[in-house]
Symmetry: C2
Subunit: 361 residues, 2 copies
C-alpha cells in the first residue's frame, strides 16, 4: 500500500491494520536534538523552533521531545544543513539562504531579492511547485524540509550617511552577505559578512559604514539606532524571508504518521506565530525609533530600478551555469508574475489607502 | 494544579500522572459533528474545515473523527453559532460577521471595514488582545473560538454601470449585507442580502444592479463576469475576512490536552492553507477575467474617503450604544494604528515597487 493510500485510508478509517508498523512505535519515547542556526538573542527566529518543540510535546503527551541547541552550542550556524544530512542531529532550524555558497538554489527556500511576499511564498509552496522543488533540492542532502517561520518584508539597513543615488553605495563597507551581498557588490559595496555580535562595535569604531540586519525589533536589540542616523526601506533583497525546519530523511521516514502530521502542523502553527510576533514587535520598535530621532528614508526609484536590474542579471548568470537554479527560477518567475498581477489589485489598493489614510492619530 | 502548570509540566516531562484524567480518555474514539456556515460550492471556505478534519484524523491515528455538514444540511448558515452554543453539534465553522444582527461586536472576529489585513489580524490575535477579547465574547455563548481561515483583501464587487462618484451608489440595488451593507446604505444603496445561488439570475433579470461576493475565484464560479462588465476594487469593507472554528465550551473542556493541541494546530494549518489557496486561485481567475473583457476599475479616493467617514460614524454609533463593541473597538483602533504605521514602511514600499515594476511580462 502506498503512503498516499495509507493516509486516505487512515482518514476514512479503513484497513490501517494491514500496514506494516512504522519503525518507531507511537508508544515509544522519542527524543530528538534540533540544531538551530539562530542565536538565542535573535529570539523571534529562535522562538519558532521553541514553539514547535512545545507544541509537539503537548500534542504527544510528552512522548515526542525535541531538545533545542542555539547556534554554535553543538553545531555552528552555517553547518546545520550538513549536520542534519550526516545525522549528527535529527533536526535543524535554518535558512536556505545560509547555503548560498553550496548552491544559490537554496536561496529560493528563503526568498531572493525582489521575490515573493510571505503570503505568496505560502501560495507557491502549497499550491504551486515551490515545496515540491525545494523538497527535491533538500532531498539530495537527505533532508526533509518544512517551512517554519517568516520575517515579512525587511528593512534596507542603517547608514551613517544618506544614500540618494546608486553611486552613494560605492566603496561602502556594509554588513551584508549571500545573494543580497552579491547584488550590492554590483553597486560597489564592499560586503562584510559580520556576525550580529560584532555589528554594533564595528559601526561605532567606523570600520563599518552601514549594516543590514532584519527589521526594527531585532535592529533595536543590536542598538543599531544608536550608531547610525539613517534607516532605509524597503529591504528589496528580502520582500520576505522564510526559514525552515530540516529533518534527516531517514529519521523522518521512521516517524509514525501521527507524529509526522503533528510535526507538520506544529511548523504551520510556528509559521503563523513568528510572522505575527514580528508584526507586533516591529510596530512597537519603529514607533520608538521615530520618537528618538531616527531618520527614516525610502530608497529612491532609481536605486530600486538599478537593484532590480542587477538582481535579474545575477539570476540569469546563475541560471546559465546551474541547471537546478534555472529550473526553480523559471517556475518561480511564472508564479511570481501571476501573484504580483493579482496582489497589485485588491490587496495593494486596500493597503495603500488604509495604511496612509486610516487611523485615530 | 492549574492548566498552565499542567502544560508546562507536560512540556518538561514532569508529574503529569498527578493530574486528574480528562473526561474523555485519549484512547477513546471521539466522533464529533461540525456544522459549516458555508456551502460546498464555496469550496475554499468549506475546504478549511475539511483540512482540519483530515489533519486531526491523521494526527490521532483515526481516533478523533470530525464529520462535516455543509450549510443547510443539518444547520442553516446563520444558525451555526446557536447550534454550537446549544450543543446540537459539537463544532461549527463560521464567520463572526454572520452574527452582526445578534451583536455587531462579533464582526471583529472577521474584520470590520477599513480593518486589519490577514497578517495584522493574526498579530492582534496572538500578540495583542484580539483573541482574548473574542474569547470573552464567544465564551458568553458557551463557544470556544479558534481562527481558521482568511480570504485576504476582497474585491469591491460587480456593477452594471461605472461608479465614479459617491452619488453613483444612490438607489443601487446591491447584493450586500451586515456591516458593509450598513455603510453602503449611507451611500444610498438598497442592500439585498441574497444567497449565492440567487445572485447571478437576479443580475441577469435586472432585479439587482450590483453584487459583492468574495474575489476573482469565487466570483468566477458564480459567473458574475458574464452578467456585469465592471469589476471594482478594493473591497474596503473586507481588507481581510477571517473565519473561525467554534467548539462547544463544555466539549472543549472535556477534550484531552493532546487533542486540544492537535485541534488548535490543525486550525493553524488550515489557516495558512486557505489563504494560500485563495492567493493561488485568485491570480488565475483574475487573469482569465482580464483576457475575457472584464473592465477592472479602482474606487476613487473620493469614494474611499466617504466610505471611511461613514464607517467611523457607524463604529462610533455602535460604541455609544454597546459597551462590548466600545471595549473591543478601542483596543482594535490602538493596535491598528501601530500596525498601519509599521506596514506603510517596509512592506508597502516593497509591494508598491515589486507588484508594479517586477516581472517577466
Amino acid at each position: 500500500m502506498k503512503r498516499r493510500e495509507f493516509i486516505r485510508n487512515a482518514i476514512i478509517g479503513l484497513g490501517t491494520t494491514a500496514v506494516a508498523a512504522p519503525v518507531l512505535a507511537q508508544s515509544q519515547q522519542i527524543k530528538w536534538r534540533l540544531a538551530s542556526s539562530f542565536p538565542k538573542g535573535l529570539d523571534t527566529f529562535f522562538g519558532a523552533a521553541e514553539t514547535v518543540a512545545k507544541r509537539v510535546a503537548v500534542a504527544t503527551g510528552g512522548k515526542f521531545q525535541i531538545q533545542i541547541f542555539a547556534a554554535g552550542e553543538i553545531i555552528s550556524s552555517s553547518a546545520v544543513l550538513d549536520a542534519v544530512k550526516d545525522g549528527k542531529v535529527e533536526m535543524g532550524h535554518s535558512a536556505g539562504s545560509y547555503y548560498f555558497g553550496k548552491d544559490p538554489t537554496f536561496t529560493f527556500d528563503t526568498g531572493i531579492p525582489f521575490g515573493l511576499t510571505n503570503r505568496q511564498q505560502d501560495a507557491w509552496y502549497r499550491f504551486g511547485n515551490g515545496l515540491k522543488l525545494m523538497r527535491e533540492l533538500y532531498g539530495e542532502q537527505n533532508v526533509h524540509n518544512i517551512p517554519c517561520g517568516n520575517t515579512g518584508a525587511q528593512m534596507g539597513g542603517w547608514y551613517r550617511k544618506e544614500i540618494n543615488t546608486p553611486d552613494d553605495f560605492k566603496g561602502l563597507k556594509m554588513r551584508c552577505g549571500g545573494f543580497p551581498g552579491r547584488v550590492l557588490s554590483k553597486f560597489g559595496v564592499v560586503p562584510q559578512p559580520l556576525p550580529a555580535s560584532e555589528i554594533y562595535s564595528a559601526l561605532e569604531k567606523g570600520t563599518l559604514d552601514a549594516a543590514e540586519w532584519v527589521g526594527p525589533y531585532d535592529d533595536q536589540r543590536l542598538g543599531l539606532n544608536r550608531v547610525c542616523k539613517f534607516y532605509y526601506y524597503p529591504g528589496w533583497w528580502d520582500g520576505s524571508a522564510q526559514i525552515s525546519i530540516y529533518i534527516n530523511s531517514k529519521k523522518w521516514a521512521e516517524l509514525p504518521l501521527e507524529y509526522q502530521a503533528i510535526l507538520e502542523m506544529a511548523c504551520a502553527d510556528a509559521h503563523v506565530e513568528m510572522m505575527a510576533a514580528y508584526d507586533a514587535k516591529n510596530a512597537v520598535a519603529l514607533k520608538q525609533f521615530l520618537e528618538s530621532g531616527t531618520q527614516l528614508r525610502v530608497f529612491s526609484e532609481e536605486i530600486m530600478d538599478v537593484a532590480y536590474k542587477f538582481t535579474k542579471e545575477l539570476c540569469e548568470e546563475f541560471a546559465a551555469k546551474n541547471p537546478k537554479f534555472k529550473k526553480v527560477y523559471e517556475d518561480f518567475q511564472q508564479f511570481r508574475d501571476g501573484q504580483f498581477q493579482w496582489f497589485r489589485v485588491a490587496e495593494l489598493a486596500f493597503q495603500n489607502y488604509a495604511f496612509t489614510k486610516v487611523g485615530t492619530r
